[in-house]
Symmetry: C2
Subunit: 222 residues, 2 copies
């Protein structure tokens, strides 16, 4: 019962391990040492061993790690050995793009429903999923055992919508709206703030140019 809490820094690295192990597995590689993985992934071998040992020992002294076993264990830790039911709220460009993104399906994330408040979209189908009015969300979530709501609606609508989702027992919100959601601790939130990401990129461009002089791209002189 007294599980020690794993830091989010560690969690954030797990999907990357998972990705590299998946590639190794596909290439038919059976075992790997923390040092070899360190060379490929460009993180220290020490960090790799520390990270894995947060969850118990997956390796064997003198041998290293079995790629397939480690891959499976990480997938269990991440909870992607289980199915997850998703709905999309907001069928704009981004919402549609995410619904169409087949890779999520492959990992056990199944789109069950799509919702919008624009009546013109009702009945439209995206990859077999019908767009419904937002009024039906509560009922749909309860009836279909939805775990995750993907929020791709404007930020002013996102806050009240999050509250509705919390009230009808959603487990998690994948939030693309440019606003911080305030939800109880039994609801998990993961933010994807695209414009924040773009601003970071802008900062790094600017910083580099400040540091190295404004070489830029070709004809800066004109």
């Amino acid at each position: 019962m007294e599980e020690k809490e794993i830091s989010q820094a560690v969690i954030s690295r797990l999907p990357r391990y998972f990705r590299y192990l998946g590639e190794l597995k596909e290439r038919g590689i059976e075992r790997i040492s923390s040092q070899e993985l360190s060379d490929i992934m460009k993180v220290t071998a020490s960090q790799i061993r520390q990270d894995f040992n947060n969850f118990g020992g997956f390796g064997q002294q003198g041998y290293g790690y079995n790629v397939e076993y480690l891959y499976d264990e990480i997938s269990k830790i991440l909870g992607i050995d289980q199915m997850h039911q998703l709905i999309i709220i907001g069928v704009g460009n981004l919402g549609q793009a995410l619904t169409n993104y087949t890779n999520f399906n492959r990992r056990g994330f199944v789109f069950k429903g799509a919702f919008d408040c624009n009546p013109e979209l009702y009945g439209m189908k995206i990859r077999g999923v019908e767009v419904r009015p937002t009024e039906e969300i509560e009922n749909f979530v309860r009836t279909n055992n939805i775990d995750i709501a993907v929020l791709t609606i404007p930020k002013d609508q996102a806050v009240p919508m999050a509250q509705r989702l919390v009230d009808c027992g959603i487990k998690a919100i994948w939030n693309f709206a440019h606003v911080d959601l305030d939800v109880p601790e039994n609801v998990q939130v993961e933010n994807v703030h695209l414009s924040d990401s773009l601003m970071k990129l802008s900062y790094n461009i600017t910083r580099y140019e400040k540091k190295h002089g404004r070489t830029g791209n070709g004809k800066t002189g004109s």
Copy 2:
């Protein structure tokens, strides 16, 4: 010339400060103390002051910070007082969604071109931007002074494409492909790994359920 390096942890917080200050500004609030901002943003006042002081003193003892001034300063630090020319490579669902996303435009990120290797898409227009064959990228980047390439192509194409972009002098890559790019340090990369983000969410759902028992959503018994 000997600028001290700012940690990426600090940089990652800047867009959030920027967002909150923008809201305060819109609400007509003129000044704010680190303590007030701390209450709103739920970070310590100490961290706020430390963060800002990495870039010089923007406040005034006994007064606090002038909202508009601080907002402008952060926008300069982030480099979004400058225009940035973007191209999109890969006009799939996600690529189109990003191109259509008007908010980026507002912040000075201007879409100049869209590229794909599917001939059926050539000539198609997305918000006034014509889709061109990928062969034209190099020439386009040089002629139009493109800063940022948005990579929304499958991961196996992303690596060679990144190399081509590096070779023709791109400044930055906003990478949505599920792969790590290896580029020289004069090219900035910002990754948006959507499936990693979704896996983190899955982990947090799983962890919460492990810790609190599998209450789940409604009828778990059936």
